[in-house]
Each structure stands twice: as C-alpha cells, then as structure tokens.
C-alpha cells in the first residue's frame, strides 16, 4: 500500500505575523475609526430615544418596531428599490453599449476627446447635476419640454409628477454615472486577447455569438464590479431628490437616505434614523453578496 506522505505546510513565523499586523495597522485604524466605531455607535443609538441635544432614553426595540412597520419606511424602501431597479440595468446596458462602441472604433484618433466628454458628468457633483436637470426638466421653460414641443409632442410633468419623478431622477443619475462605468468596461474590453476573436471568426462565429461567448464571459469581473457599485450607489440615493424634489411630489421620491437625513437633522430623532441606517446597511450587504455569488463566473474554461 502506498503511503502518502503529506508534506506539512509551513506555518508562518510569529515575527512574520506581527510584521503583517504592523503594516496593516494604519489601515485598520482608519477602518476602526471610520467604520467599526460609527456602525457600533449607530447600533447602540438605535435602542434609544436619542436627541443630539440631551434626551437619551433606552427604549429597547421600540424604534425597530415603529420604523419597520411604518408606512413611511415602506414608502422610502419601495422608492429606493424601484429607483435601483431602474438605473442598474439601464445604466449597465448603456455603459456596455457605449464601451463596445469605443472598443470597435477603427480610428483611434478623437476617441480620447469622446471619452473625456462621456466622463465629464462623473466629475461634477450630483448636486450640480440636480440643478442642471432641474432646469432641463422645468415644465414651463425647460429644454426637455421645449424639444418635445418642437417635435409636436406634448410636454411632460417630469419631476412634478408622482409617476414620472423616479424615472426622471433615474435619467439624471444614469447620465451622471455613465462615463465612470464606460471607463471600467473599456479597460476590461481592452484586456481581452484579440486572438480569441480571430479564432472565433475562423470558426464562423458572428458578432452576436462572439459577444455572448467571448466578450461577456471575459468581461465578467468588470461587469460584476460595475453592477455591484451601481447597486450600492443607487441604494444610497440622496443628493438628487434632496436638491431636485425635496422628496416630493407627495413623498414619491423619498429615499432611505433622505429619510435618515430628515429624521436625524430636521426632527432630532436619531433613534429611528439609526434603524433606517441599519436596515439599509443590511440590505446593501445582502444584495452585494447575492450579486457577487450569482453573477461571478469561473471563466477558466
């Protein structure tokens, strides 16, 4: 009987471990100060009737019960989820189309300028974006309705309509984020070995087949990154409704983060605000984990 001698894996020396922690210490300190402690403090506050100016009464799970069963929470959560479901597929697909376009451009001259133009909105703050689009979407003199009227179509209510407000905010958001995602996807596309396409072409594969069988699988990591980042950013929707719509009309654009701001800074109700924070945090973790699990593929084959 053959005896298998398993080589004992070498254990790291204690001095190596200490050195590793020393190198990590500054970063760990930042994580501790800027993440762990605030999250922990937030959890503590969620069990209190907490005012920034004095009152601190322990109320057990009262905040959780009142917030999670409230219409206000369901409205904000629903709006946030709906907004995310709008912007992520649209934003990612549009980014992919534009990235494929850049990648396919025969003449490389001028693509730098085009890329810069696509990236420009990313540099602007979302607050500035909101102000610009407030003007574009103004029902009486905005550019959007002026163009529609010019085409013989009636103007729309845009941000002043309950049914149109979230799609309008989605347009603003996708416009602002498109360039960033394009840059990531273009980098991913540039890294794909051209020989795969050559081989596929020789085998008689058409453009769609190549896209489906080569491009998308080899772009998987970048796509998962883009989708994950977009989901996280969309769930944290704040600046656009805060500036452009104040959460209206009739609460139709209130998001989880605008409600956190409202409860904490306008109503001095830090306990319920903390519950919103925790709910959003848990949701973010779960969704991000699910996305990575479902969409990440082993591309070795």
């Amino acid at each position: 009987m053959a005896i298998l001698h398993l080589t004992k894996r070498a254990q790291p020396r204690r001095s190596d471990t200490k050195r590793a922690y020393l190198f990590l210490a500054p970063a760990l300190l930042f994580v501790l100060l800027l993440f762990v402690i605030p999250v922990g403090y937030n959890i503590v506050i969620s069990f209190f009737n907490w005012s920034a100016f004095g009152q601190r009464d322990f109320v057990w799970f009262e905040n959780y019960l009142s917030v999670l069963s409230s219409e206000r929470f369901l409205n904000a959560a629903g709006n946030t989820a709906y907004f995310t479901m709008l912007v992520v597929p649209v934003g990612v697909v549009l980014s992919l189309i534009v990235a494929l376009g850049f990648n396919a451009l025969m003449f490389r001259k001028g693509t730098g300028l085009l890329r810069a133009l696509y990236f420009a909105p990313v540099v602007a703050s979302l607050t500035a974006v909101a102000f610009v689009w407030l003007w574009i979407f103004n029902p009486s003199y905005g550019l959007a309705n002026t163009l529609l009227n010019g085409l013989g179509l009636p103007g729309e209510a845009w941000l002043t309509s309950e049914s149109q407000v979230l799609p309008s905010l989605a347009i603003m958001y996708v416009w602002a984020r498109l360039g960033f995602n394009v840059i990531i996807l273009v980098a991913g596309l540039n890294a794909i070995d051209r020989s795969y396409y050559e081989a596929a072409r020789l085998d008689g594969a058409g453009p769609f087949k190549m896209l489906w069988s080569i491009t998308l699988p080899l772009l998987n990591r970048q796509l998962v990154l883009v989708v994950s980042v977009e989901i996280m950013n969309a769930l944290k929707l704040f600046e656009l409704p805060f500036v452009a719509t104040k959460g209206g009309p009739v609460g139709a654009s209130k998001s989880m983060v605008t409600e956190i701001y409202e409860l904490a800074f306008r109503q001095d109700q830090w306990g319920p605000a903390s519950v919103y924070v925790i709910a959003l945090f848990v949701f973010l973790i779960v969704i991000t984990g699910v996305v990575r699990k479902v969409f990440t593929r082993d591309i070795s084959e």
């Binding site: 920034a52 029902p139 109503q267």
Partner: protein
Amino acid sequence: MHFKTIAATSALVLVGIGLSGCATSAPVATSAPDATSALSADREATITVWNPQDQWRKTSEFLENNVEAFKAQYPNVTVEFVDVPYGQYEARYVAGFTSGKNAPDIFMGQVSYYGGALGVAAEAPEDLQMLFEENLTPVTAGNFKIDGKWFGHPVSTDLGMQLFYNVDHFAAAGLDPANPPKTFKELREYANKLAVREGGKITRNGMALRYSGSPTGIADKALPYIHAFGGRMYAEDYSTAEGYLNGKETIAAVQYMQDLAQKDRVSSLELGSPDDTFAQGLSAMTFREGWYEGYLDANAPDVKYAVAPYPEGDAGYPKVSLLFNWAWMVNERSENKDLAWEWIRAMSNPETDLKLAKLEGYMPVWSENFNDPYVVGRNDYIAVEKQLNEGPGPAYNAPYTNQIAIEVGQAIEAAMRGADVEQTLNNVVVKVDELLKRGRE
C-alpha cells in the same frame, strides 16, 4: 485565538464608547461669564455669526462692515461671519451646537425650533425685551417670542401674502385691472375667466397654486387660505391639532384649493411653480409676499402686474401669520454670550433695520420704518397698509412647527392632487399631535 481576542476587545470598546454617550445630559456647557461682571472695553475675543440664508448674503457683508457702535466700543473683538449654505444648514447647526467649541456665538435661525424645541438659543436680556416690545412691529411680534419672551432680533417681518395679478391678462379677459377680486368667491370667478385651456390641459393658470417643492413652502402658501376660511393648524396652546387642522373650516379651505385644480381646472399641477409661471406670463394671478415685487422687476420687467390685498374669506381677512420666524439669536452656551448680546444691541436700531430692508428688498422690522418712503412708496403698499391695519393673525410657535409644516404641506399636496380632503387631514392630525406632544415634553 488572536482573532477572538481582537474581536472581543473591539466589541468591549464599542459598547464602552456607545454607553459613554448615553448619559442624559446636554452637550458640555461652556462657562458663561458672570452676568453681573461689567464688560471690559479691552476684552479680546472672536465672536462668530452664522448666516444660513442664500438669499440674504448681502446682509452678512453689511453687518460685517456697518455695526460701527460695537466696533468702537470693543475694538479688540473680532466679529467673523460665516455663510452656511442653506441646503446643509440643518446638519451644520446640529454638528456645531453638539460639538460645543465649533458652535456659533450668534446665528440666524427659527425661533420656535432653536429656542423652543432644542433650547440652544438664549432668551434676550431684559433691556432688549423692552426695546423689542416697544419698537418692533406688533403685527409679527408674536412669532418671535416663546412664552411671551423675545428670543432674538427678527430678520424680516415679511408681512404675509399679497395678490399679484397680470394687468394685461385682466384686460384681455374683459376684467377691470383697477378692480381685482376682493373675496375668495370673486377670486374663483376671475380665475375661471382668466384660465386658458388647450386640448384638455391648462396652458395658463387663472390662479397659480403652490403644489410642489418643499412641503413647508406648500404649507406656508396654504395658511392664508386656511385662515381666510376660519381654520388654523393647531390650538393656540399647542395642545392638539384635532378639531383645528381637520376642522370644517380648514377642510373647506383645502377643498377650495383642490377645486381650483381638479374641479374648476383653473390651476395647473404641471405648469411649474407660481413664481416661475407668473414671471413668464403663464399665470394670471398668484399669492406672494412683498419681496416678489423686486424679483419681478429684476427678472420679468416686461410683465405688467399690480398688487392688491389678499382677498377675504368666510372668516374675513386672513391676518398676517408667519410660519418661518427667522431671527438673529445668541447661543445659550456661548462663552461670549455677553458680547454677543452687545452686538445684537448695537445692530438693533431703526437705521440699520431700514438699510438692511432696502439692501435685501424685504420689509423692515421697526415700526417707525413703516412710515419711510421706502415702504410707503412701494407698489404693494396698499396691501401692506391693510396688513398693518388688520393686525396679527395666528402665531405658530410650537417647538416642532417646522416639522409640523412638513407633514401639513405633504397632506395639502396630496389633497391638491385629488386625495379626499377630510380623510387626508384626519390622517395628518395624528402625526401633528405626536409632534406637538414631543414639543411639550
């Protein structure tokens, strides 16, 4: 083993930090100077003044350079102005006041919230109580007091809504521009004649309604309707909104607003804000405060408009009632509280008040300035005169009035869009009563 130790230690640290913040105490109070000690002219200090109003930036520059009496008396005291962007002022104020050291000494804020709810604003000293009581216009005085005590110098009295109407639209509709509507019944009739509808859509408002944007703004614009019909937001003693916000008078007022939009179809919920649409000639009538005159003159010089007093409702003329009671206040916990009140004393005079009013285009605060040609010569003076003669209306100074206004504004917004008025107001009464209760605690 190492990981477990680190995790356990971190958890203990977190709990410790969390519990250390749980003491039922206010932020550390800085020691205020003895009230009886005289202020030395040699005193060296820096006092900071925070101004959060984007539309009143000239005020900061003016006060920085023109409070000469204070500079002469305290040459070694520096007064630093900080303009805080309006969009983030609530967060900045919370961060500043809770930090203690980074709080302003003087700040512009709403009396009911910062003085009443949060308790960070100081009550004015006795001499200023008398000065303000004797000299500031009584029409709006009640809005700047808590339990009868002044908490700061009002920034502007902003005497409430007036009727702005487009003279050309009146003439084109066969209406006499010299004879604007004087009652709500007439307003509705005029609006029907002035509205323009094309293809089922309103293309010109007969009467512009504030139907979107900040809910507090919606509530503010709805209050005169509510008062004209004899309603109010909540009881005078802040005990409840039941029977007031959902009383038959308030319901009638909000129903009137809904009817303008839904039944009569003279007010569009799509054209845009009243300020914009009136300036563009897309609204024939709108309600706005007197400052709107300056806005129109600067931005819409081609619009021929006139100003008339607010119409009368079933309960008569809706007297002046301010929802936003902005005042210059002193931080209760300021180390330089005495100096801050000295600065307030130095700027509390009719000359400074009038210069500021002219600079910013709003109404003055001192009674004697209402006889000045700046006020008497305004296009809206006929409306101003009525407001002064009619006297003060309801004062809403419950500690969480701003938050109450948000809830009320959202309810009125829903009602204008077609929600059942009585049901909507019944629902919001519950939320308002909770806020009133919080304010009493």
